[in-house]
Point group: C2
Chain length 213, copies 2
């Protein structure tokens, strides 16, 4: 079954918003990429901003549910003890990385867009607050349970570092490939998973162990 034109618009918008940002991608660019007339975008989504919101909503609705499920599962598995730091960090990262590993380029575009939003103080910040704060809160709570002796502020910073480290890996700027002269592949998400999780866990453990001031 061929995809609907509405879906084609969403896919094209997702990719172009990810590549060029909200302002950088015009409705005409999107229409061309989707092989659709410009006015059809207005018909389906009314305004550009609402199209943007639809692009976000389409995936977050699926994504957030799954993310929360992973956390529940990881806490249930550890019960009655608190989950380990590894389990929490892994749960947070894996929901992103497993889809990237699977090679789904639609999801990759979305994660790409996610990175853009998470480093944008304008409209991006609003959307992050609306859609991703629940996940962030949940992760921070779980980290606090896993590291009961860690200073709360350090947990917050630790999550920020985790989030930043993960998100740069989700956008394909080509820098890792270039800097490593081709010996490292920026799209080797399996390797990223294997490397990022222990890196972040060691970092968090360090923060937990040091005397806070």
């Amino acid at each position: 079954m061929p995809i609907s034109k509405k879906t084609a618009i969403l896919n094209a918008a997702e990719e172009l918003f990810a590549l060029h940002g909200l302002n950088g991608a015009s409705m005409r660019n999107i229409a061309t990429k989707a092989e659709v007339d410009v006015s059809l975008i207005t018909y389906h989504f009314k305004t550009k901003d609402k199209l943007f919101a639809s692009v976000i909503e389409r995936r977050t609705s699926v994504f957030i549910r799954e993310q929360l499920f992973y956390f529940e599962e990881c806490e249930r598995r550890a019960a009655p003890n608190a989950p380990s730091v590894e389990d929490v960090v892994d749960a947070y990262c894996y929901v992103f990385l497993k889809r990237a590993i699977a090679g789904d380029h639609h999801w990759r575009n979305f994660f790409h867009l996610f990175t853009r939003l998470s480093n944008d103080p304008g409209r991006g910040a609003e959307i992050m607050a609306q859609y991703f704060d629940p996940i962030a809160m949940r992760t921070i709570d779980a980290l606090q349970m896993a590291l009961p002796d860690c200073d709360q502020k350090d947990i917050h910073w630790g999550f920020q570092f985790l989030s930043g480290a993960l998100s740069t890996c989700l956008v394909n700027t080509g820098s890792v490939n270039r800097l490593s002269k081709g010996s490292v592949d920026s799209e080797d998400y399996k390797k990223i998973h294997q490397t990022l999780v222990p890196f972040v866990c060691a970092g968090l453990d360090e923060l937990s162990n040091k005397i806070s001031d």
Copy 2:
């Protein structure tokens, strides 16, 4: 002495490009913010893209020289031994953070823009390659010296994580403040410095110690 109109343009452009991106900031917005006529921008910088390049160049010329000086100093201090991971990570971060700590909002705008560029696959990636690859290379080399037993690929990923963790801290999205209900201040760059460096060093040590595959 009041600043020249040319400098006012650069300052305004720096701020608006940081906030809204290359496409999101128009020359009119910039001219208004700089309290200058639009055509004066064309007079001084010829095109919008060249204005953008000038914004980058103005600070990178200073910044890169200083960054490289820090690395030399830190290697000289450790000689004939290799510098420690702490020294290398600190040198990389501190050049950013010391100016942020000093509260210079022009530099903060620039770092803000830096974060945007480092997560942009388009024009941003080009500029990063041109201006920041030398620093990145230098940092990676220094890390390799500090961690001779670490797998080269892990060093590259470690640097990517470091770079991602630092850069999210340089843009003020308000997320840390929101998520911590005000108990953490996203502009407390001194705290970021104190927290990020040990976090990253522990992560790198972990990568160095694990058996690579």
